[in-house]
Symmetry: C2
Subunit: 792 residues, 2 copies
């Protein structure tokens, strides 16, 4: 991952085309650095024959001996693009395996780290790439994508030839799409086309430094004369005031400024930012601020000032995003496909208003969600809003209106319609969403007005190596025990079979009795709202799915008959903001539960973890409740950026990426590991069953549980203080401690070790991966978590 | 603007570098089209000498005579980039003025329209550009940007040379950043570097068609032999099955599919989309759906099926975005700087979670808002959320907690704290934001629970050519008249002077009396919330600013002393979601009102009109009300994508673009037109004062009013039914009628005429521009609006 050393100024040199002078600029820069008595490390990661194999040699030929240390990591003789050179060697059987991007990045990081350790003084590193920014590296991945984990500051060599304005700007834009910091654009001062003149002005407007040097002399046929002529050229560059020394000053300035900026960020943050959900009184020192310099794949690159001057280490360290950034990350941070989708829609539409209008990204997304996504078979409409909370507000407006209209509930009474839900639910932080939750207190605020009744549900977990269902006090009396063991997770989630068990009958009679009592007390309800399978922010509680199924059946006053043509009893809302779209390994929990909602809500994963967007799906009867010729009877809800094209297009792209994962090896392997002997399990996880069972037996663990990407560890603790408890936080604090990093060479590209960003809720610690996190990384996490639990 | 004809398949040909074979591909395509008996129109917009001036001639030399009609619009002899050729002609005084981008686009559109009118049969148009995608055109603008208004489907000619993989992908990405539809990538089948092999696979994954043809034979020195050799080359291309005929099939398929897709969209939309704020029962036919194919600058490009077969016209027509897409648009749609900012942040971070973390885009935005933006001088903190409504929920949570803490209001009582506001306010559609608004009904829903008291405020408008203040019934009794004329708008907004008038004293005593009465009735309040200057969604009502100022003073129980170190009375919230950030010509209304809020909210323009993002600013005493060592006392509000890096970076970029407008000619001219004789007015508008005064005198106009980008026309009508009335809608329906387009050649680039998308609220029609809408376009709108009002 990203490398930044105080005493080591590193730049990668990328070309805006082939043959634009990368090596000449590298040589000139190396000489200028050396002229200041600064040691230089020149690194050519991949070199192929012909034109390119001269690079390393050229640099060494024209620098003073001893001033530059040079390395070339992968050398191939054929004078073609690296991906072809590698293929040829495979064909010739002179190579067993093409080095992976991971290997290349690891090798570069290793070399730079080693150089940092041995270099005592302030030094410069120049990493020269091959061809243009998108020229393929050995595996065929474009260089701009392959080297992205290292996130090195970049020098782009501009193209001074005819057409070079275009290739320079396009190359710049390709680097920008990968988020690179571009410190300078350098090109030859060619005086016929004068590209530098145009580019200087163009990039000045973008705040990017452009410098030129004279082009090299023509190549001479006599080697000695050519050497002398080239030597003179370089000597004159250094002697004359043509800018190369100014470039060094500029690059050094960029390096210093970047470090100063990072160092300044904690204080500046404490001075201006008001964080969500954070008690600032408990996070008031600079060390409490996580400065995220960039992110890639599963990792943040986090600023961490070095403490020991004698042991140089990177000021940036990789931190595993162990809560998938509040459960949003889908295919990892900064995935180029999502960036390109965002750019494409921004370039075509920007944002266009949505009422009575349509654009392809929104239409395609709506059709997918309704017809081929979580709404398949029951939903007829998609209503867009900006986040899970607003999506829930829309769902509540839909459900309450549908109920009030059908049951002829008048205005004042309608204001007092409550919801039926589960205790511990969380539906968002706007007041409407909050009012659909009970009064458990900590999420409350002055205007919170809990409107409804919430059942305390039985839960599911693995304890002492065995799955179990834990009953609540009210159910305990009915059943005669506080928990019942289950043969397997698969069995727990086999709802159709469990509907025939005595427990099902007891759930049903318990729910009916409670509802009868509420009715007698005069309570009125307008909707049932559930987070299927797992209640997230309320404590990562796995609810017994049988209880949720029976609750829906009872509310609808009928046994389930698959999909409902029309709602009965109360409209049923599934809040799948957290659990939906494969977070728990399935697109929607409805097929597993065997009942379909009338309304459901999606967000978080919807955009692949890039942007806010939510969709509320509704069945046709719900939609029809608003249909009239009275404008005031419409669903009067909307946000300025409703169905913004960028979010919708990114969502469509995320959906395509997930489709690929669904059929990939890694999910297949994970599913197999959870299969129940010969049959495939109905539930599965990216975390290993053996690990879950093992930690569930540890003395400090009450329950462990997993589905899909989610791992939940419920610690034994005297008192469960819920959200504000710190039990799990203290237990796992070590994961964020630099001195105790996870240490697995193969897990993080370019990073030998990493800390972990994780989340806790009271005595619960939970970890969450993206949908495509590499198995080796999950294994590394499992090992570390196991160690911590065992040692505690 | 965008052109699409059923019988005319148009493609622009762009090169991924210079010298990649654009002209050879254009010739091959023209010949292949002609071979099918399809007329071809070859258009070279800009041609410069040397290599490039051969293009036109080359095409005509190798096609059968009579099959291809060719045009070159701007021809310059110098064999350099067009921007240099144009500069040279200016220097040589052989040219008076460099043709603007607007002129080039207009000329191209004019030629294509003319060809469409004269061409009876299905024809092909090939527009060949110069150099690479970003090569500068005459003005210096990159071609990819200059031609964007036409939004023509694109053929990208790939680069088959060494390094060509990189330049092809980068060029593709530059086109993607402008939203172009890329129908095909064509390149030579060069067999040493085999770029086509790599690119074919690379783009197959992106669903983009790649085709190859053999490279042309080497150039021969003997002209006759060269001609014969080239002729043979083209003959063999057509004869052999090498793909060029397949390309024609593919391109024709793309054209047909695009038209079919557009035609299918209205029905598909009516089948799956649930629109915000729309009564679907009143919008149930395909004609009720506005299909937006793309957008650029101030225009949507809207699908409109041709009705007369004998009169070919574009299936896409420009529609002026006359409400700035729900008041969000700032610098027009699809501004490349905003796209690049979004891409940069997406590439560097994706989204990273925000609690106890920070990244540069969020930090820079917070600092700007608090220190150098609307919070300057009073705010200390920025809290981010996703939209105006959530920003208001946060503001309410802040204000109510601060009030409850200081006044020791207990839990149950706190739930009943109301707000003081103005009747007709709108703060968003989530329940908390709705509860801060009165019970006017139409925006209501089942759970709406109006919590507070709302003053019916005096309003400001221009009637019969004169500014006036209109009083409400309660104030009329006090003042003795229903409206008072004002010498000028400048005078109305000169609050400090007006504080000394008798009306000020009457406002003050009226407010104090009303508050006293409320107190005696036992009502309790926790916040004052106002939309300064204009109440937006509630009816575009311009409130007398003096009333708002005095309301704040009375609530605070003290005369204003500029900026407040600490709040008194009730915390004051300014909802500047609509009015802020220069929508009304000023960053915040606070300096004009002469009082600063304790909390304020921004959204809409914040991201320049691209993405949802909101910021709630708070003073230090408000922040301190949540500071403790109890985690549960924190501000427990957050959304998954809080402070998403993409939105914050776009917001920072939008802010820079606005800074440029602030000092530009167009704002200066507009400000001068509103200046009051020698002194500069304290308020100004992009709409002309003469126009406003003129329409305010028309018999069907009750009041007209404007500030900044906003024009409001309040029609005379018997009964004001508010939101659900259709009066203004019928009056201005003509603006969306294709037969009655605004017709001003110079206003819309490439479009001789355009319809207008506008909005109405009951008897109010309002129009809104971006902050950078061209004056000529606003003049065109003014003329049309004047005509409609006069003719009605």
């Amino acid at each position: 991952m990203s490398l930044l050393f105080k005493n080591l100024r590193i730049h990668q040199i990328l070309g805006s085309n082939t043959n634009v002078g990368k090596t000449i600029f590298a040589t000139a820069l190396a000489r200028a650095s050396a002229a200041r008595n600064t040691p230089v490390y020149y690194l050519k990661p991949v070199s192929t024959g012909g034109l390119e194999d001269a690079d390393h040699g050229h640099v060494m030929r024209y620098v003073e001996s001893g001033t530059v240390h040079a390395d070339c990591l992968f050398q191939y003789d054929e004078p073609v693009s690296p991906h072809l050179a590698a293929k040829l060697k495979i064909a010739n059987k002179t190579l067993d395996q093409i080095p992976s991007d991971h290997t290349i990045v690891d090798s570069i990081a290793g070399c730079i780290r080693k150089y940092a350790e041995t270099s005592q003084r302030y030094s410069h590193v120049y990493l020269e790439t091959a061809g243009g920014v998108h020229s393929p590296t050995l595996s065929g991945t474009s260089q701009a994508d392959c080297y992205r984990p290292l996130f090195l500051p970049t020098i782009l060599i501009g193209d001074s030839n005819l057409g070079g304005i275009s290739s320079t700007i396009s190359s710049y834009e390709s680097l920008l799409l990968r988020g690179y910091i571009i410190d300078a654009i350098l090109l030859f001062r060619e005086d016929y086309y004068r590209n530098w003149e145009y580019l200087d002005q163009y990039f000045a407007e973008k705040g990017i430094h452009v410098s030129t040097i004279d082009p090299p002399p023509p190549r001479l046929s006599d080697p000695a004369a050519d050497h002398q002529s080239t030597q003179n050229y370089y000597n004159n560059l250094n002697a004359a005031d043509t800018g190369i020394t100014g470039v060094i000053d500029h690059l050094n300035g960029c390096h210093d400024k970047r470090i100063e900026e990072l160092a300044s960020m904690p204080k500046r943050t404490l001075d201006t930012i008001w964080w969500p959900f954070v008690q600032h009184g408990l996070a008031k020192t600079e060390k409490d601020v996580t400065v995220i310099d960039s992110a890639h794949s599963d990792f943040f690159s986090v600023y961490q000032p070095t403490e020991k001057a004698d042991q140089p280490s990177s000021l940036l360290i990789p931190e595993f995003d162990g809560s998938a950034s509040w459960w949003t990350q889908t295919v990892g941070h900064a995935h180029p496909s999502l960036t390109l989708a965002a750019a494409r829609a921004s370039g075509r539409y920007g944002h266009v208003m949505f009422p009575q209008a349509v654009h392809l990204p929104a239409l395609n997304l709506a059709e997918r969600l309704v017809r081929n996504g979580p709404g398949k078979g029951w939903a007829s409409r998609a209503f867009f809003s900006d986040n899970g909370s607003t999506g829930i507000e829309v769902a509540l407006k839909m459900a309450l209106r549908a109920y009030a209209t059908r049951n002829n509930v008048k205005d004042t009474d309608a204001k007092h319609l409550g919801v039926i839900g589960l205790a511990g639910s969380y539906h968002g932080d706007t007041i409407g969403a909050m009012n659909a939750c009970g009064d458990e207190g900590v999420y409350s605020c002055e205007w919170h007005d809990a409107k409804g009744f919430w059942f305390d549900p039985p839960t599911v977990g693995i304890s002492d190596g065995k799955p179990r269902i834990t009953l609540t006090p009210a159910l305990r009396n009915l059943v005669g025990e506080s928990s019942t063991p289950a043969p397997s997770l698969s069995w727990i989630y086999d709802i159709e079979a469990r509907l025939q068990t005595p427990l099902a009958a007891k759930y049903s009679s318990y729910i009916q009795k409670a509802l009868g009592q509420l009715e007698r007390e005069g309570h009125k309800f307008g909707a049932l709202i559930l987070e299927p399978l797992v209640m997230g922010a309320g404590g990562m509680v796995f609810v017994d799915p049988l209880f949720q199924r029976i609750l829906v059946d009872v509310i609808r006053g009928q046994p389930a008959s698959g999909k409902y043509a029309n709602w009965s009893g109360l409209p049923v809302i599934f809040d799948e903001v957290f659990v939906g779209l494969y977070r728990l390994g399935m697109e929607s929990a409805a097929p597993l539960l065997g009942v379909y909602p009338d309304i459901s809500v999606y967000a978080k994963i919807l955009t692949g973890g890039l942007l806010p967007l939510a969709a509320t799906l509704a069945s046709e009867p719900i939609f029809q409740a608003f249909w009239s010729d009275n404008k005031g009877a419409a669903l009067l809800h909307g946000h300025s950026y409703t169905a913004h094209a960028v979010g919708c297009e990114v969502a469509n792209e995320a959906s395509k990426l997930i489709d690929t994962l669904k059929t990939g090896e890694e999910w297949k392997n994970a599913q197999e590991s959870w299969s129940d002997g010969e049959s495939r399990s109905n539930v599965w996880s990216l975390w290993e069953p053996g690990f879950i069972h093992e930690i569930s037996k540890l003395k400090n663990v009450d329950e462990a549980m997993t589905l899909g990407t989610l791992l939940v560890i419920r610690l034994k603790s005297g008192s469960d203080l819920g959200y504000i408890s710190m039990a799990a936080l203290s237990m796992f604090a070590r994961l964020k401690d630099r001195q105790d990093m996870c240490n697995f060479d193969s897990a993080a590209p370019g990073g030998a070790s990493f800390t972990t960003h994780y989340r806790t809720l009271g005595n619960v610690a939970y970890f969450m991966t993206s949908l495509n996190t590499r198995p080796s990384l999950i294994r590394a996490m499992e090992k570390k978590i196991r160690d911590i639990l065992k040692e505690a």
